[in-house]
Amino acid sequence: MEVEIQNLRKEYGNTRAVNGISFSFGSGQIFGFIGPNGAGKSTTMRVLATLEEPTSGNATIDGVSVIENPEKAHKYIGYVPDSLPSHRDVTVHEYLDFFARAYNIRGEKRRQTVEGVEEFTNLLGIRDKTLNALSKGMKNRVSIARALVHDPPVLLMDEPAAGLDPRARIELRELLKVLAGQGKAILISSHILSELAEICTGAVIIERGKILRAGTLQEILSRGGKNKHGKAHRTVVLRPLDRIDELLTTLLETPGVEDARIADGSVEADVTGDDEACCALLETIIRAGYRILEYRPRRADLEQIFLDVTRGDVQ
């Protein structure tokens, strides 16, 4: 099952919410959709969920266009919107049963399906409560359960962790891992990057409707970040046997080193350039007579890369 977004554009009047983005992800992958507010994440999600029509471009799920054939595409998609269910006079069980009926699941199979989903999302204890009486975290779970009722191969989750307490977030994370293990293709947008980094296999960083980075998490992290001038940079950690203060001074005077600081008995240095520049720096330090116990590049985390590549612009 492959989800493919091809040159997608969405304009609202003069505003380009999504500006020609293309990426793809497949079964068993959890793709993080990252971007500042107003970047175009929710719009892209809504297009994929067949709620919005794009200005141009296409999106396909297993070859079925969500634009030309939304009725068929519906069956492949489980969408968790950023708004939570809040319908009056409906219990959790009735709500899920309604969706099972809507997806044409009949008889005993429907009962089993709804109970299975309730158990999987830990809703059995509150199945007879009305939706209005639920907390945000519980409603969120109901929303996810609803998206799972028809066992879709693709899950689109728009800010599912927003407003959740730490326990609910951990549970959500575990739930997503299990779902990915079941072979579902998951696209999840969130602002909590540290959590995304823990569960995602890939990511798409988007700003002002354009993709800044996309690929597997390994690819994105290995490309490192950029400094404030837009040049590639790396952070390296050096642990000298002695003369740590002298090493710091030397590093600060070395061309190509943007900044250096002492942390936990080591010196961290921000180096302009790629891996070649890091090797050259090590050579320079050893030639200068320093005895180095440990030398390793520190991989940028998702948060750092996000800060490096985005400018925080809104449109």
Partner: protein
């Protein structure tokens, strides 16, 4: 039996199940039912006690009829308030952007959603009607009432509730912000009041045994079938509009509406023609023609609010065979096609009246030209205002108004066209007559269709000629100005090239 019921339960529209569950769970519905029954009981006791106290020796042979009139009045009023309001409000809340899950995420079609809501409302109405049954039975046990009369009145009440609910669903489907929604709700409430009050007046006459309602005559039952037919036809039209309104803009949502409108127009034409031949004069066909003109005029207003381009979803369904395309153009979503459909339909309705008057000569021949003129003027003014609005939007207010809001510009222009002549007259001239204008100043009001149609009815030949001349010029100018927009849509109405060919290129 259980297995059969379970299978039946599986076949029922999920929306019906959901709505019924919501109604059963709802404290509001429970409270309403209890209050309704209490009111029925108290009113009944008051009527009986009052009657006994005022005339203890009077032998009233119509006590049952009077009691039934009161009971069914309360029933109708209660149902006309609760059911349409509840159904409409629920749809409006589910249609909002924060509640996309029920209507837009599931695989249910808009038609299934609305038919489910209507069916559930019908079931709730039946529940309330049945709750009222003991009171009806009590009224029947008293004198002056028979079972067929009760059934006819209750059927009429039930149909009115269904019509009111369909209207409420239509209003709830209109995309609107909170302010406009409140206004629409108010309009809907006024409509319900009129509908309920009108039906109460009619049913009172019927229960009183008026000679106009003789149940032993064929005329009564034929008239009844006609009214039921018109009610269902109107409900179908409102239903189709509602389905189109909640369908995604990317869908070919005009198709079903236009097919239904055309079907209703043709079937209605046959029905009214038979009626016309039966009564031996052409007036029923005039009603059909005028209704047709009104519906197709409305179609024009809707059409200018439609998009002037086709998304991928509609485009890939445009017929590949060139000879099917002109017909498809009239029925597919799109401003130009909708406008053409409305103009052709309105013209056919107006011509239909004239032709029928030639086939079945009227005993009151003077009405012919007036009705045909009204049938022509209503769509002609609508056409001119709509095309002017489309032009204004594209040239002056493109950034302010999306195509969907062109009706607002048309409404504003219509308002200006109606009021500016009065302002000019009161500011610069000093003439007065019955409607605020005098005959020599009639041309001043030419932009006001109400005045000019009224003038046409009063057989003012000079102003009719002037009005027609003005409309021809106005219509010609806006048609010419909109011609590039129209032609562009006609030429773009083509299916996309097949994918394989693209790949070859």
């Amino acid at each position: 039996m259980t297995a059969f019921l379970a299978r039946l339960g599986d076949r029922i529209n999920p929306i019906v199940v959901k709505e019924t569950r919501q109604a059963v769970n709802s404290r509001l519905v429970a409270a309403f039912l209890l209050i309704f029954l209490a009111v029925q009981l108290v009113v009944m006791l008051l009527v009986i006690t009052g009657r006994e106290l005022s005339n203890p020796d009077d032998m009233n042979l119509r006590a049952g009829r009077d009691m039934f009139t009161v009971v069914q009045g309360i029933l109708l009023g209660a149902c006309m308030i609760l059911i349409p309001t509840m159904t409409g409000a629920r749809l409006a809340s589910e249609r909002s952007d924060v509640n996309v899950d029920l209507l837009f995420i599931s695989s249910l079609t808009p038609r299934a959603v609305l038919s489910g809501k209507l069916f559930a409302a019908g079931a709730l109405a039946l529940l309330i009607f049945s709750a009222c049954a003991p009171f009806m039975t009590f009224a029947y046990v008293m004198r002056g009432l028979d079972v067929p009369t009760i059934l006819v009145v209750l059927t009429a009440d039930y149909l009115a509730v269904l019509l009111g609910t369909t209207f409420a669903l239509f209003l709830a489907s209109v995309p609107a912000n909170r302010g406009l929604r409140i206004l629409l709700g108010l309009g809907g409430f006024i409509f319900m009041c009129y509908l309920g009050a009108g039906l109460l007046a009619l049913s009172s006459e019927f229960l009183r045994g008026s000679s106009d309602f003789d149940m032993s005559s064929w005329d009564f039952w034929l008239g009844g079938v006609g009214v039921v037919g018109i009610t269902f036809g109107s409900m179908g039209q409102l239903f189709m509009w509602s389905v189109a309104l909640i369908s995604p803009p990317a869908a070919n949502r005009a198709f079903a509406v236009r097919v239904y409108t055309l079907g209703l127009w043709i079937v209605g034409g046959f029905g009214f023609a038979i009626w016309s031949l039966y009564v031996g004069h052409p007036e029923p066909m005039s009603v059909w023609g005028l209704l047709g003109c009104a519906v197709f005029s409305l179609q024009m207003i809707v059409a200018v609010c439609e998009r002037d381009h086709w998304g991928a979803r509609v485009a890939c369904r445009i017929p590949r065979r060139a000879y099917f395309r002109p017909l498809a153009f009239l029925f597919y979503s799109g401003a130009a096609g909708g406008l053409a459909f409305g103009v052709i339909g309105a013209a056919a309705s107006a011509v239909g009246i004239v032709v029928w008057y030639l086939i079945v000569p009227s005993t009151r021949s003077s009405d012919t030209s007036v009705l045909a003129l009204i049938a022509a003027l209503v769509p002609a003014y609508t056409y001119c205002y709509c095309l002017t609005a489309a032009l204004v939007r594209r040239l002056l207010a493109k950034s302010l108004f999306r195509p969907g809001y062109t009706w607002i510009i048309a409404g504003l222009l219509f308002g200006l066209g109606c009021t500016v002549p009065y302002i000019v007259r009161f500011a610069f001239l000093e003439s007065y007559s019955r409607y605020g204008y005098s005959d020599e100043l009639t041309p001043l009001y030419v932009t006001n269709p109400v005045v000019m149609i009224d003038d046409a009815i009063r057989h003012s030949d000079t102003s009719i000629i002037f009005t027609l001349f003005f409309l021809v010029v106005w219509g010609g100018v806006v048609t010419a100005a909109n011609a590039p927009w129209f032609i562009k849509q006609v030429t773009k109405f083509q299916p996309p090239e097949p994918r394989e060919e693209k790949a070859d290129e």
